[in-house]
Every structure is written in C-alpha cells, then in structure tokens.
C-alpha cells in the first residue's frame, strides 16, 4: 500500500484503494464459500450420477435402491449431503439436497409441497438468524440453485413438470435439464429443446435467466455467452465410470455401438452446464437467491406478520365509547415500525437470557 503524499506532484496520485478487491479476495478465500444445490426429478433420471460427474465426487456410494413394493408407501423425502472441496486454496462447502420419491407414486398430486416447504424453511431460518443477536456466524443454508431433470422420453413438458416449476419459480433459481441425453439423436435433441423453450414461454415459467455480459467483455467471451444462452435447456449425460478413448481415460459410457464421452461438447452439454454452474455463474446464482428470492420471502413474511400484529392489536383494544379517529398512513407506518422494533428487542432479550442461562450451567 503506497502512502499518500500530497506534496509530491510529480508522482501519480495514487491512493491505493485499488487493492481492495485483493484484500476481499484474500479474506474470502480464507473464509471459504458455500453453495447449496437442490436436485429434483423422478428416480432413475441420473441425478446422482450427474452430481458426481459435476463435482468429481462419489456422494452416493452406499445408497440402497428401493424396489417398487417398498416404495409404495414412500413420500417425498429431503436428504442432504455436505462435502468440503478444495481447489487451489479455495474452499467450497458444497451441499447437495436430494429429493427421493418425487414423482414416483401413482398419484403425485402436490408432491412438490415437501420441497417447497424445505426451501421456505431455510429462508425462515436465515431470516430469524439475521434478526437475531449474534450475527457473526450465520449458517447460510438457503438453496442457491435447483436443477430440475426432465426425462428425454417425452414430447415436451409433462403436467408434473409444469406444476413443479411454477410452484418453485419464485423461490429458487430453477435450471431445467434434459437428462440421459444419450438416448436422443442430435436432431431429436434440437427438436426437444425448441419444444421445451416454447412451452416454458407458453406457460409463463420463470426459469433462471443468464445475466447479459458486460459490454466491455471481449468478443470471445460474448460469443461463448451467446452460445450458452441458446443451448438451454442443457441436454446432459453423467457417468460414474471411466473409459478409455484414443489412449485417454475419460468419463464416459460404453455401449456396443460406441462410446459416449461426458466431456465432449459434441456429445452433450455437460461442459456447458459445468461452466455455467461453477465457473461463471455460481456467484450470480447466489446473488439472485439473496437479492431476489430471499427478499421476496422476507417482504412477504413481514407483511403477514404485521397484519397479524395489527389484527391482534385491534382485537385487544377495548370498545371505545366514541369512535377513535382512524390513524392516517404515516402514523400507521410509524406504529408498524415501532411494533417491529419492540418485537425484535423482545427476541434479543430472550436470546440474551438464554445465553446467560447457558453460561450459568
């Protein structure tokens, strides 16, 4: 950091806060990042395999697959796996949320409620933590991205797909994927993608939109970005196995008629997905979650709370002998704010008491 020497006019006037990003970078690298990914879709679409391929892990080694009889009474569950990955000194705490049982029953009405509930719960928890007393080490479990797996066998979106995405579009970044894309020919993939894009428009489903890149980026980057946007929804293939192709060992699937390479751009969009998810847009996904989805949730929450509090207040007040003048908008707001403050302070008090109690023990 250079010193500020205003007297020396021959030197460039350099304050030095240009090093701020470096400082931030160092701090955050030390702290590490976290990312929560939700995978949803019927069983057998290759969700676990894809996650393993994306993050080069083996998260579900000892998984036991249930058979049809056992699954009859199963409801949609939520399972979480957390993994700490490190690369070049940067630590990532990755949480994968899986939803076994989704869409597998004969009657799948509202099978997404459990998932919706989970996402809301994470928001709620964060909201409470944020308004709490000790905000230093808040655990951020909010879901940053939801990968939704669409089977390649259909002719477009099915009713359950439409309902799921509509229910979750305001709560999480939904990224639809075409799974098991190795059963489709290139022509079929193109048709299916077009069809899906059409239907997503038609039903007004708000999936995650890639932000436009800045105008000062170089041409190559812009070109890549454009390609990325035009090939959504991504058609992906995952693999847990390594095969040998032309002397190289790659992740792939071995068929009698050929070998499918997961990381070959001509075979599937896996590389594009990985680039988007991890290398270019991970931070954007987190930001959108914080700035848009969480804020929506928070606003809704506060609204419902204040209306409840108002209702309670009105019930408690005694019947006036003469009609009270209705307070105007400003005082209403003031009252609301004060109520909120009161409540927060009460919560803080409670927490302090609890902590003191714990210390005493």
């Amino acid at each position: 950091m250079t010193h500020f020497r205003p007297w020396n006019l021959l030197e460039k006037e350099y304050v030095g806060f240009a090093t701020l990003p470096n400082q931030v970078h160092r701090k955050s690298v030390k702290k590490g990042f976290d990312f929560t990914l939700l995978v949803a879709g019927e069983s057998g679409l290759g969700k676990s395999t894809l996650v393993n391929s994306l993050f080069l892990t083996d998260l579900h080694k000892d998984r036991k697959l249930l058979n049809a009889e056992e699954r009859i009474s199963q409801t949609v569950e939520i399972t979480k796996h957390t993994v700490d990955i490190e690369e070049k000194g940067v630590k990532l705490k990755l949480t994968i949320v899986d939803t076994p049982g989704f869409g597998d029953a004969v009657n799948n009405t509202e099978c997404w409620r459990t998932i919706e509930g989970y996402i809301d719960h994470q928001f709620e928890q964060y909201f409470r933590d944020e308004s709490g007393l000790n905000r230093k080490n808040i655990q951020d479990n909010r879901v940053h991205c939801c990968l939704y797996f669409i089977p390649p066998f259909g002719h477009g979106l099915r009713p359950v797909d439409i309902e799921f995405m509509k229910a979750l579009q305001e709560k999480v970044n939904v990224v639809p994927l075409i799974s098991k894309a190795d059963c489709l020919t290139p022509g079929e993939i193109k048709k299916l993608k077009e069809r899906l894009r059409e239907e997503i428009d038609k039903y007004g489903i708000k999936i995650y939109q890639f932000p436009d890149c800045d105008s000062d980026e170089d041409e190559e980057f812009k070109q890549k970005d454009k390609e990325l946007k035009e090939s959504t929804p991504f058609a992906v293939i995952g693999s847990n196995a390594v095969v040998e192709v032309k002397g190289q060992r790659v992740r792939g699937r071995l068929y009698p008629w050929g070998i499918v390479e997961v990381e070959n751009q001509a075979h599937c969009d896996f590389v594009k997905l990985r680039t988007m998810l991890i290398r270019t847009h991970m931070n954007d996904l987190k930001e959108v979650t914080c700035d848009v989805h969480y804020e929506n949730f928070r606003a809704q929450c506060i609204q419902t709370m204040t209306s409840k509090v108002n209702a309670e207040n009105r019930v408690e007040s005694p019947i006036p002998l003469f009609p009270m003048p209705t307070p105007d908008a400003d005082t209403e707001k003031l009252i609301k704010m004060k109520d909120e403050e009161l409540r927060r302070m009460q919560q803080m008090l409670q927490k302090m008491q609890q902590q003191m109690h714990e210390q005493d023990l």
């Binding site: 697959l65 058979n67 049809a68 799948n108 259909g154 002719h155 099915r158 309902e163 489709l184």
Partner: protein, 414 residues
C-alpha cells in the same frame, strides 16, 4: 381374481402348418426350430384326432381330445407338408393306438395332407391379430410397432397429429390395417392408449383399458351365444398387450406394477424395456434381473405364463424366453449405411445403434418371438384361457362384471 378354474374340457384347435416360404428362420432366431419328429419315426406327438378348426373362426364345442399346439410346424421351419411318404410318426387320425406305432400302417393314406388343406383355407380366409400397446407417452410405442410390422401401422400414420396434447383421461384408439405376406392375409389391429401414466394423478388409469378388454370379450360372447351365429365371428379381442417399461435403470415404477397386477389375468402381457439405447449392457442385465424379481414378488404372470406350458418342449422353449424377458428393444424407421449394408437404426454422434443387431438390442428376438413363433399361441391362450375365464364368470351370474344391457337385436340365451 377368478375363483372359477377354466373348464378343462375346452380343446385347443389344431394348428395348421405355416406356409413353407414365409419366415425362414432368421440367423438371429434363438429358439431353434423344433423338429416335428417327422421322418425320425421316434416318439412323435400324441395322436391328434381333433377336427381341424379354422383360424379366426373359433367355433366352440368341438372334438374333445387334446392336441399339442406345438406340432412344430409353427416354428419357423419350412416344414415340408404332405407327402412324407414314410410310415413313421405320421399324425394318425385312426384309432387310439400308441404314438410310436408307425409300423401298423400298410401303405400311405394321405392323412398328413390335412395340413396342406388347412393352409390353403387359412390363406383364403386370412386371420386377425389384435395388439395393444401401453406406456407413457414418448417411449417409442408407435415407432416400435412400425418397425415390427415393417409398415406404417401406428395411429400416427393414420392421420393423428403426433404432437397433440396429452389427453386428460386414458383414451383407447384402435386402427386396423391389412397386411399381406406370402399369400397370407392378416388383419392387424393396433390399439393405442394415449394418456396412460401421463397425468400427475394416475390413480386407476388402467381401468379404461381393463374395461375395453372386457368389452371385446363381451362382444365375442354375445356373438357366440346367438341362436343364429355368423360363420366367422369377428375377433376383436386383444391377443397381446405390449407394456413399455421406462428405462430408469433402477426398478419398476409403482404404476407399472399396479397395471400388470390388475391386467395380467385378463390379457397376455409382454413387458418390454423401451428405448434401451439409454443403458449399457451391464445396466441392462441388472435392470432386467431386478424387474423380473419384482414381477415375481408381485405375483405377475406375464406371457408366456408358466402354468400354460403343456409339455417339456414348450417348457424349455418358454423358459428360455422367460429368462430373457423383459426384452430390451430399440425401434427405428430410418435406415443408415453401416459397413456397406443398409440397416434400420438410430444415428448418434458416437455411433449407429442397429435395431436388428442382437448385440445392440433385443428387437430381433422380440420380433421372432412375437410373430414368428408365438403368434398363434397368443391367440390360443387368449381364446382358451382368458376368454374362457371371462365367459365362465359371466355365465355364473355376473360375478363382479358389468351387467349386460338388454339387446333387442340379438336373441341370446343368457
């Protein structure tokens, strides 16, 4: 489901020989053609003494004795019909002698030409075959049918748009085609079931299908019990139901199991794994094993049913088939050039999936099994067993079935 055992008295109609030039055994035919025993003079089939029945006209109340349906002529070999000239092991219509006693015939009578006579008749009248396909939309049902019968037989080609919306309830759409090969005419009816399993709530979506199947039995029953009957009752009963299993690689879905449990006693169900080019060979074997186990645990008897195997020959053939089921198939109606040959297949960036290559998928096996060796058996089992079950239930006073609406146009004995 039915407490009433189908009466044992019902005979199986004698099966006429297949015309010699149709369906020479394909190299991929895993089921070795059964020698009739003709010419070997050894222990031949038990003496048939039934009056031959025309295929397609299932006349009831016939000769009481039992014939082996697998007289062997159906198994893909161009059997030389008539004129064996030898004495040994000829189907003897004469008295109740033992089967091996060929030596008592003095000279050649010519009884074996009955096969030729039946063949001629069959070629003139032709026969019906009704096949139903059930499965989620997009599993390749129409494409597979087109590939099986090498012509555009699916409802798609009959003018219905492919991309029409998913219907809200399961619909039943039947399309008929006439196919001719080697002088033999077949009226093939394909029954499609769009909307099956596509909704969010699929409870009881097999009911419309079950109802349709029973309606066809009902129609046939009404014709049968008429006082003045038609010479050849039109047969719209579903002879075979191909059930398409989604290739998840894990196990059967609940809906699959429920469907097969409910309908395996009214119709012959053949489960197949659709779009098998999604799975590698090991995954396929694993999946098949798991599916077979689940079907066993669920008490589902798919075709060929174990209980209807008549003799050791049948049993060993059918065992081989049962071991390989459900067959993993890929369908395609496009041709590509591979190694100088034109083959039906699917072309991807990493290779061409050949439909008729037994190393790639089991389509050829399905075709041989379905059409070249067990076509007639499917019809027989439908007529002799499923239909009889239905009939017995109805005649015992509507045991749980829909009541018959009074029909003015027919005099019925019911």
């Amino acid at each position: 489901m039915s407490d009433i055992v189908p009466p044992e008295v019902r005979p199986k109609p004698v099966v006429p020989a297949k015309p010699p030039h149709v369906g020479a055994p394909s190299p991929s035919n895993p089921f070795p053609p059964q020698g009739l025993g003709a010419g070997t003079g050894g222990s031949g089939p038990p003496p048939p003494s039934a009056i031959p029945v025309m295929i397609g006209s299932h006349g009831v109340s016939h000769a009481p004795s039992h014939t082996s349906s697998h007289v062997g002529a159906n198994h893909g070999v161009g059997n030389s019909v008539g004129g064996h000239g030898g004495v040994g092991a000829l189907p003897q219509g004469a008295g109740p002698q033992g089967s091996t006693d060929g030596g008592t015939l003095l000279g050649y009578i010519g009884i074996d030409t009955i096969i030729e006579q039946m063949r001629k008749k069959t070629m003139k009248t032709g026969f019906d075959f009704n096949i139903m396909v059930v499965g989620h939309s997009g599993l390749g049902k129409s494409t597979l049918l087109n590939t099986l019968f090498k012509s555009q037989v699916s409802r798609r080609s009959a003018g219905w748009a492919r991309d029409e919306k998913i219907p809200k309830t399961v619909e039943i759409k039947a399309v008929s085609h006439f196919i001719e090969e080697g002088g033999v005419k077949m009226k093939l009816t394909v029954v499609d079931t769009p909307g099956f399993g596509d909704q969010i709530n699929n409870d009881n979506c097999w009911e419309p299908i079950g109802k349709y199947i029973n309606e066809q039995y009902e129609k046939f029953l009404k014709e049968e019990v008429n006082i003045t009957r038609k010479k050849r009752i039109p047969d719209t009963r579903v002879h075979c139901c191909l059930y398409f299993i989604s290739p998840t690689g894990h196990s059967l879905r609940q809906l699959d199991l429920e469907f097969m449990k409910h309908l395996s006693h009214s119709v012959n169900i053949i489960p197949i794994i659709a779009k098998a080019d999604t799975m590698t060979i090991e995954e396929r074997l694993d999946f098949k094993q798991r599916v077979r186990k689940e079907l066993e645990m669920g008490g589902v008897e798919y075709y060929p049913q174990k209980e209807f195997d008549e003799d050791m020959e049948d049993k060993s053939d059918n065992d081989k088939i049962r071991e390989a089921m459900p067959l993993a198939v890929v369908g395609s109606d496009k041709e590509y050039q591979v190694n100088g040959k034109r083959v039906l297949g699917r072309k991807t960036a990493w290779g061409v999936v050949e439909v008729e290559n037994p190393n790639h998928c089991e389509f050829a096996q399905l075709r041989d099994f379905l059409i070249r060796s067990h076509l007639q058996d499917l019809k027989e089992v439908t007529h002799n067993i499923h239909y009889e079950t239905y009939r017995a239930k109805r005649l015992h006073g509507n045991g749980g079935l829909h009541p018959v609406a009074a029909n003015d146009t027919q005099e019925s004995n019911l």
